[in-house]
Amino acid sequence: MKAQTFTITAESGVHARPATLLVNKAGQFESEVNVAYKDKTVNLKSIMGVMSLGIPKGAEIEVSATGSDEEEAINGIAEVIKEHLGE
């Protein structure tokens, strides 16, 4: 399993549009990809799951991937987050 922590700096947090980008990215990989915020973990391939977290600006999230392409998955998602959401 690979995991990485990110801080969300985007003004509106992870709302529908960036969530869609994340979900689409996660969907490109075979690995099971999860995102954890506070004490809740959801499947990053599910838009409803991601939005249900209601991740605001300043939040720390942890993305984890398990599977054959977990390395690529984490890197791919990190790119999306850096470009649209934070660091």
Partner: protein, 641 residues
Amino acid sequence: MKYEQLAEDIIKNVGGKENVNSVVHCITRLRFKLKDEEKAQTEVLKNMDGVVTVMKSGGQYQVVIGNHVPDVYKAVVTEGGFQDAAPVDADGGEKGNLFNRFIDMISGIFTPILGVLAASGMIKGFNALFVAIGWLDQEGGTYQILNAIGDGLFYFLPVLLGYTAMKKFGGTPFLGMVIAMALVYPALEGIPKTGEALYTLFAGTMFESPIYIEFFGIPVILMTYSMSVIPIIVSAFFATKLENFLSKVIPSIIKAFLVPMFTLLIIIPLTFIIIGPIATWASQMLGTATVWIYDLSPVIAGVFLGGFWLVFVMFGLHWGLVPIAINNFAVAGVDPILALVFVHSFALAGAILAVWLKTKNQKTKVLSAPAFISSVFGVTEPAMYGIALPLKKPFIFTIISSAIGGGLLGFFGTKGYVLGGLGIFQFPSLIHPEEGLNLAFWGSVIAVVVGTVLAFVLTYFFGGINKNEAGTVQTEEAAQQAGATTAQGVKNEVLVSPFNGTVKALATIEDAAFSSGALGQGVAIEPAEGKLFSPVSGIVTVLFPTNHAIGITSDEGAEVLIHVGMDTVQLGGKHFTAHTAQGNRVEKGQLLIEFDTDAIKEAGFILTTPVVVTNYDQYEIKVISEQKVNTGDLLLKLKIK
């Protein structure tokens, strides 16, 4: 297909296709129900290319594939010859073939009325008992009124079924009721029995049909629709199709009355013109065939009639035999035909008694008592539609036992001497007026005992009674464990509009994430009013902290996301008021969010709102409404793939 090899390997390693009860898939996984999980090579599967991992949960053996799982699923279904449906269902994957689906549909239509059906059956049965033992006078007012109380539901059964069937098919329930009301309209019911025929169709053939009325010159053969089941269900099915079609083509200003008007004006005459003759001729054929078989061998006729009587009643075909019996009484004073079906209500009672004693399901147990008692008194509907049909096996054992009972009646030459009552009240009608309790009468007692005991024993030991129900419980557990983030066993459903407003194509939204359908598929609505009502009944799985977006997972499994306006997240919750919270249960039509349309527009935001289904890969999604909608209007139809 590039997943054939993978599919073959997966099937091999879950223990072969013989070990698979059913398989469904969600967003990332194949969810198998295996007969024996021990037989699966979990380690081999985990290390297989193309399989992420294996998880066991809630009675399911889950093979995690990734989001191309739909393709792998198709390959697995093809390879293993499994049922390609969404078999996560009450009976644990037994569903699938046409017969089962038909039965599930019929019992689903009856489910909402079972309580009142059982009550009516009891009243009707006891009323007959009180007459039989002389407490009530059949001519008296007390009996007449009690009879109306007990029989009202049965006489007007199509009206109730019109409502429940139409609702099940996704149409407007009251339309189904009105169709049924016309079918059982008393003035029409009276016509075929009075007056002279205008002319006769097919004179001299089996289909000889005197015509009493015409509809714009088209001959109408009326049948008795009261107490019938299938005709109204067929009508409601086509009425739903027509209603959906009309809703699309009729402008919304005049829709409210024109859609029902045309639906009624088209469907009701079609029912009279098409279903009437088909059912009438089929029942005439049945009557002719029965007499022919009886002449050949009373035993075979008994097996045939006794076995299928309950089915004939369901289709209303038994009316073809009643005139033959009445004619036999009139001409010869004795009828051997109707006596052959004597055993069916006892066989059914035997099967229900077994269910009653054995079931651990509280709901089934409660319903079994009145179902059993009314069956003994000859009122079979509660037992049939409430228990035997939904559980399937008791129904099949009833047919077998009733067929054997019918064969015995044929063998002993049991005959009826008057048009008797039903159930145990039919006994007196079988007594020979001169010979008294002859062999034929005692034969009927033997047939009843054999039929009842056989149905009881078969159902008790082979009815699979608690097995079915364990399946239900398991499915529920699995669904709970799956939680909000994975779709589980979705069903067909219809979403209603959450707004008053104008429907647009999703593609017209100026935002790639929504217009491309990447977020989900559905429609965009321009709300005319700042009120959002729930399009489904279910759980609020998402309520974004700024209250501008809400996601609901419906009871049927659809994940619906409504995102009010574009970029409205930037308002930070201003102008939005939520009337529910994440995790709450909501009902269809409940007010969920209020927002200030003017203020939001003034702040420079577009209010066009995507209403999308995010687990769209499981459905074929059809937009029902294309223009102006009101809250509660049918909006999207979701059909499982």
